[in-house]
Amino acid sequence: MADPGGEREVRLVVNGVERVAAAEPRLLLSDFLRHRLGLTGTHVGCEHGVCGACTVLLDGEPVRSCLVFAVQAEGAELRTVEGLAGEDGELGPVQRAFHEAHGMQCGFCTPGFLISLTALLEERPGASEEELVDALSGNLCRCTGYANILAAARAARDQAAERA
């Protein structure tokens, strides 16, 4: 058996592309994405599961990537903020709503909010106000710009409900 504490290859699909990189067991998925795969759109805030900045979709579900070891994601399908825009770089619908309603201030927390909201609207395009707030309650904005974030989230929800 290979050295259980040593580096091993982690193979997964990120934004539709198969990726392989080495990770020792203690490497967090957030650091794996940023440092091994160069996907720096996923931000790292608190590194103990409080701020939500590092939220990614793992097999379709929103998770905090700082609370998952990269080795646990072997064989998984991930979506990060880099996967929300179209191939031509055109913003995805949730990104567009945040752009139009200026749902950000410094922008640090934005990738986490976009991913959490994407997860909700893909499951429930017509989400209620309560569901919106619940889905975003695990993301913190250090600028406290929540009013515009919620306005953007409502706009994204209304557009998603129309498309559904």
Partner: protein, 266 residues
Amino acid sequence: MKPASFDYHAPATLAEALELLGDDAVESRVLAGGQSLVPMMNFRLAVPEALVDLRRIEELRYLRTGADGALEVGARTTQAELLRDPAVAAGWPLLHAGVTHVGHPQVRSRGTVCGSLAHHDPHGELPALALALGATITVAGPDGRRRIAAEDFFVSFYEVALESGEMVVEARFPAPPAGSGWSFREIARRHGDFALVGVACLVAPAETRLVVFGAAERPLLLADPGEVAAAVRPLDDLHASAEYRRQVAVQLAGEALAEARERAGG
């Protein structure tokens, strides 16, 4: 904020996992959802030599109703899976309602029911729910399996009745008797935070189970709100004073019992 090095094992069977955990030469921890363990490792409050990840063990992935009508939750079942199951919402409404207070969606999509029980944060919802519902926790170890009643499982802060080499494999929640009512209340700084104090209550025709949590080193099972003030041993910290927690516990217990009785039909 980075964990120390450790050996990582992802066995495919429970037998292999137990063999790894049974090796006394290595200090191993079980990794299920990791939503409590990984933060502790990031802070290096926990520095295990090895982790035994349950993610490949298919035999622990189930959520089903057993022959006796009890809800059986395998060690890999997440809190999100429990919330999505309409049979749980219909048959165990207290459990469903309480679990909506566990962390945030991003936590519940990884966090497991059995993991919360094994971790036993006395401010956590799941230990209190297990106690209120009269759950039993099945553990497996080198000497086979045994079932432990929730009353005997939670010992003190982050301490449960697991012996060396044992792990939780299942939680069993009996079906609430016909004609029973329930209530779940907690006070937290923000929704999704650990409760300052909370109450889970089940009123059945033959028995009232009133559980106060976040008010002592483990959830407390009481028969009557009149016992709360004397029974609690709340912490005094920057989030709330002990006296505040005591008052809230008394108030919530009274409200919860009244609501549970009303739901039971008076």
